[in-house]
């Protein structure tokens, strides 16, 4: 599925991975978090091989309806990762509520996930991922199941999470097929080609932070980078013999 993919993830960076459907982006993410063992090569976290999901890594799925548990309330969903943290119940609740507030969710603690809108559910999913204070946050096309407007809102939520959120910079690896989104959010973009998935390019974005939906997206640098990525993908697909992308 994937072949010849070698790269580093730098601490604190927001890295996006783009590529056409079926190029193995999700597989890559599963390898990174230890859900799937590599058949060849290795995944190293701080120099140690990743055999099973490390505690410092959290994952957010595209389909929130299947990763949030419908029989648990929002707060209990968010508290789940804290089971083994050795905290008292009151502390767990407080932490969960705090992270929900940071996500901009107020008053939803006792509700059930399916009572919330798609965008809110995805925020809950992100909140759950963050409550255990992971070093690395992985997201698999997290905004694919929400409408366009909510998508832009959630993009900015992610930027907040990455940037100025209790002063801890969490490293983010974000998989998406939306090139504009990748450029808008990231410090660096990895481009994968398809069949077999291969690392085609690593492009530094070098846009100023904080990013702003309107200003950043219309800046010349933004357009240059996104065009570069489009071209890379297009030429790669032509090489690989696929018609169009």
């Amino acid at each position: 599925m994937l072949s010849d993919v070698t790269f580093d993830v730098r601490e604190g960076e927001l890295l996006s991975v783009v590529g056409p459907s079926g190029c193995g982006k999700t597989t890559l993410l599963r390898l990174l978090c230890g859900l799937t063992p590599p058949s060849d090569g290795s995944v190293l976290f701080n120099g140690k091989a990743v055999m099973r999901p490390p505690r410092e890594v959290a994952l957010v799925f595209q389909d929130y309806s299947r990763s949030l548990f419908p029989w648990l309330s929002v707060i209990r969903n968010v508290m789940l990762p804290l089971r083994r943290a050795g905290l008292r119940r009151g502390e767990k609740i407080a932490r969960a509520e705090a992270v929900l507030q940071e996500m901009g969710l107020h008053g939803v603690a006792r509700k059930y996930p399916w009572e919330l809108s798609g965008g809110m559910q995805q925020r809950v999913a992100i909140a759950r991922a963050l409550v255990s204070r992971p070093k690395i946050l992985l997201l698999d096309e997290p905004f694919g199941s929400v409408d366009a407007l909510t998508r832009t809102e959630l993009q900015d939520v992610l930027l907040r999470v990455h940037g100025d959120f209790e002063e801890r910079r969490v490293t983010i690896v974000h998989v998406t097929h939306d090139i504009d989104e990748a450029v808008y959010l990231s410090d660096r973009v990895l481009v994968l080609g398809s069949a077999p998935g291969r690392l085609v390019a690593s492009i530094d974005v070098e846009l100023e932070r904080p990013r702003v939906q309107t200003a950043t997206r219309s800046s010349p640098r933004f357009l240059a980078v996104r065009n570069e990525i489009h071209d890379v993908i297009a030429s790669r697909e032509r090489e690989a013999g696929h018609l169009g992308v």
């Binding site: 599963r30 959290a58 994952l59 799925f61 389909d63 309806s65 029989w71 059930y112």
Partner: protein, 261 residues
């Protein structure tokens, strides 16, 4: 009074009228052509009215219900436990599958003579036979329910570092609950059938025994009464089950956007 409302009421009435007419025809025919085997509806109801409220009859019914409850609980417990195991662990599934598939294919009544040899003619035999019959629909549905758990759900459990036991009880069990409950519903009607069957053989009380006994005494209206009672009992149990199901699965129905019953 809207047309739609009248329509609905009219339709309900139609069903009742047809039912009443059917009873009426039976009654008329049974009266005009007195038949020992097909007594008039009124005769059956009259006897039922006299017999049903008696302590003897009610204790008999209670005995049946006790056996059903014990056998059902035992069978369901085994079915869910084995089902969770087989659903979660591929190794367990592969190992147990041929044996389970074979045992499942045996009509539960076929084991009655064998169980009688080991456990005699008492309640132990009855509960064992009922449990045997109840366990398989529950097991099969539990396995299906667990296997149908979405990959994202499984992955989330892995990412949350849940141990095997925690994953099974806190994730697979709730996720599979709708399927398990469907199996429990099927198992309930099988359980009722098995209570009756087990009471045909060497019982001294119970509704199954009552029906057979009345037949042996040629008390035909009483026999019909027993059959009628059994039908009512089955209906009531089913409705109770639906109530419990609603309560247990309210989150599921609302999550899926379906109306609760």
């Amino acid at each position: 009074m809207t047309a739609a409302f009248l329509n609905r009421v009219g339709r309900r009435l139609l069903g009742a009228v047809v039912f009443g007419a059917a009873l009426g025809i039976w009654e008329a025919w049974a009266r005009s052509e007195p038949s020992f085997l097909f007594p008039p509806v009124t005769a059956v109801l009259e006897r039922a009215w006299q017999v049903w409220p008696t302590t003897d009859f009610l204790t008999s019914v209670a005995a049946s219900l006790e056996r059903l409850a014990a056998g059902y609980a035992l069978g369901a417990g085994i079915g869910i436990a084995a089902g969770l195991l087989m659903g979660s662990l591929r190794a367990a599934r592969r190992t147990l599958e041929p044996l389970v598939e074979f045992l499942r294919a045996v009509p539960p009544v076929a084991i009655v003579p064998a169980v009688i040899v080991v456990l005699g003619l008492g309640n132990g035999m009855r509960i064992a036979v009922i449990a045997f019959a109840v366990c398989f629909p529950v097991l099969v549905n539990t396995v299906e329910g667990v296997r149908a758990v979405a990959p994202e759900t499984r992955d989330t459990a892995a990412m949350l570092h849940l141990g095997l036991a925690e994953t099974i009880f806190r994730i697979y069990l709730p996720a599979a609950l709708p399927s398990i409950v469907a199996g429990l519903r099927v198992a309930l009607s099988i359980g009722v059938i098995m209570v009756v069957i087990s009471e045909f053989v060497g019982a001294s009380d119970g509704i199954g025994h009552y029906i057979l006994f009345q037949q042996s005494q040629f008390n035909v209206p009483e026999m019909y009464g027993g059959i009628l009672f059994l039908g009512l009992l089955g209906y009531v149990l089913n409705r109770l089950f639906l109530l419990v199901e609603d309560h247990l699965l309210s989150w599921h129905f609302r999550a899926a956007g379906e109306p609760t019953r």
